[in-house]
Amino acid sequence: MSVNDSDTLEPTRLAVETIEVLIVSESDVMSASRQARLLAERLGFSRSSAYHIATAASELANNVLTHAGGGRLRASARHDHPELAVIGLELLAEDEGPGIPDPELALTEGYSTGKGLGCGLPGVKRLMDEFSLETRPGGTRVRAVKWR
């Protein structure tokens, strides 16, 4: 098999524990989801957990794009202590959009502003183990953690 440049540049050991994707177009949503999945797999998550994380990332990135016109999604490894093994993965979606007028409602099963199935944020909550939402007129931040 031939080795191309990108293969030789790819780190073989776990070098990157954080990825950050700027979300400005719909292709960034796919990229964020894929990178989150690859990070999860590198961190040793099971395949099903990695797909849960990928889907949650896709959902969050899509929200950022649809409701705020853009923002960023970060996925990073979580440790108990810097020297200890990875125990979780945190997704952080941030935007400088108008905020969610009624966060309670946005987290209600079946409520949708029109584009999804009404299970976006509640879906993320279920796919991940921890979930928090901060929103004000000027920005929204969603944090979700999956423990390994």
Binding site: A54, S58, L117, R126
Partner: protein, 130 residues
């Protein structure tokens, strides 16, 4: 990114291989309903084998498309849902996909032919097999 629509007798086959943007989805849906109406398709198989992440937006697009096709009077089967997609969709919220599903394209075609025959539609010319 335009999704090709293949025709097999009075059945249409489409395969979604990448996440669709809003515009792609609208284009795809209008292309498909136009083709279904133009040939009065009896059935449509939507293959999503290549999708390994289906979030609630994509699920909505697939669902809506299936419902549009059904409204026109054609049968719909979705096929090739990946095991991890099934796992995640159910975990996220039940009943995301309302249409019937099959393992693969072959099974989807059999299901469509069976249903078309059951409907008593004699226009289907693909029943001379076996």
């Amino acid at each position: 990114m335009r999704i090709p629509i293949l025709q097999l007798d009075r059945i249409l086959l489409v395969s979604i291989q990448v996440d669709l943007t809003d515009n792609d989805a609208m284009q795809f849906q209008s292309d498909l309903v136009e083709r279904v109406a133009a040939i009065e398709a009896l059935g449509v198989a939507i293959d999503i084998t290549a999708l390994d992440v289906v979030d609630s937006y994509m699920a909505r697009v697939i669902n809506d498309t299936a419902n549009m096709v059904r409204l026109l009077g054609a049968e719909v089967v979705i096929c090739g849902i990946q095991p991890f997609v099934a796992l995640t969709l159910i975990e996220m919220g039940r009943g995301l996909l309302g249409a019937d599903c099959a393992f693969n394209l072959g099974q989807a075609l059999e299901m469509l032919k069976g249903r078309i025959a059951k409907r008593g539609d004699t226009r289907f010319v693909g029943d001379e097999d076996v």
